[in-house]
Assembly symmetry: C2
Homo-oligomer: 216 residues x 2
Amino acid sequence: MPKHSPLACLSKAALFKDLPESLRKKLVPISAHQEYFPKGSLIRQPMDGKDGMLVMDKGNAKVYSLNEDGKETILGTLTTGDSEGQEHLFSSNSRENFVQATTDTWVCSMTRRDFQNLIRQTPDLALSLLNDFGQKLVTAEQNTVRRNSMDAKQRILAYLDDLSKKQGSNQVKLELKKKDLASYLGITPETFSRKLKELVKENKIEVNKKVITINE
Amino acid sequence: MPKHSPLACLSKAALFKDLPESLRKKLVPISAHQEYFPKGSLIRQPMDGKDGMLVMDKGNAKVYSLNEDGKETILGTLTTGDSEGQEHLFSSNSRENFVQATTDTWVCSMTRRDFQNLIRQTPDLALSLLNDFGQKLVTAEQNTVRRNSMDAKQRILAYLDDLSKKQGSNQVKLELKKKDLASYLGITPETFSRKLKELVKENKIEVNKKVITINE
DNA sequence: CTTCTTTCTTGATTTAAATCAATTTTATTA
DNA sequence: TAATAAAATTGATTTAAATCAAGAAAGAAG
């Protein structure tokens, strides 16, 4: 069990990390800390009554939803410092996603009510949040465009390019199991595997387990 | 040219309409009013330097992006009272979408800088905005799920059901040209036409030009 | 109303990716 | 480290939807 500092945990969230410390400190009293979830357990699920946001203090998790047939669609992944469910801080919509720990995980969390009270007193916090949401909407729209105009191989490359930019290197480390990454890209694991092989044959990339080198 | 009241225009925006009038009045001085765009003209486009949000005072428009081949992907539609580009009020990302008037259109708009200044003084406004963003993110995630787990016909039905709920009737009026609707659903106009025909044959729906009746 | 353009529909064919099935590889646990 | 389970790969086949092509219907403009 890692050492835990409430302020350090909250400060990891993209949502909060650019705030001046004075603001961040105000978040500590309204958040729950050091919740532990062993690998494989569900951190959040529909109807669990846990409306609000969580911050990954340490660990990895995946966010997915189930359709009627029980098939998973990966909506994203979480790693240390990521936050999830921010929208539930602002709308009374209840959760429809699952969040499952993919390693042993510690989180801190915040309820809607407490947060709403706080934000009325701290407009800078609101601004920071709005910014974050804007980013996500742009990403969502980008994914829509990619699905409409790119085939599987192009989407994989676009994803790798994004990751490369994000990680600041042309050697990228995949943050997801390949089958989950396939789901995120809207393809099957089989297609993913085949297309990756083609990309290697075309000398566009090199693959070493979970590390991919992009040749430009 | 319709009569124009700045407050009335801003009050149409989902973003603002639940605000107390005292707050809404504060928006008037920071917004530009009564910009006119004839049918077919571009209200916004990439690199136009017009960062910020717009509110549809009167008219209809479509939001789309172009991929490298010049192919449109419809990201959504706007009608009287809708707002667009809210994310550009909060992030310095510049616009990557086109907004084209599909009828004669009047809009009012607001720049990022003016808005940011205002919002620091009005936290309730921030809360309302965050709520709206949350909704949109939920819709975006829902679309992702649908694309992964539904075929073309199911997506059409799901869309019609949504529209039916939104319009409060099982007789829905399509707000888009069919080819644009197809693009929104991630299919071709040909497939859309065929699937619609199948749905009629299966007695799931009845089609009358742009009006579709859903049989439950 | 007539012409011209755009959108919509229908048919024939192709194709990208899904599915089904069987290994191989990698990871987990005893 | 052996046994077991899960993930990844590869091959064969099917299939949903795209593309290509041509005509019909609807809208816009003269």
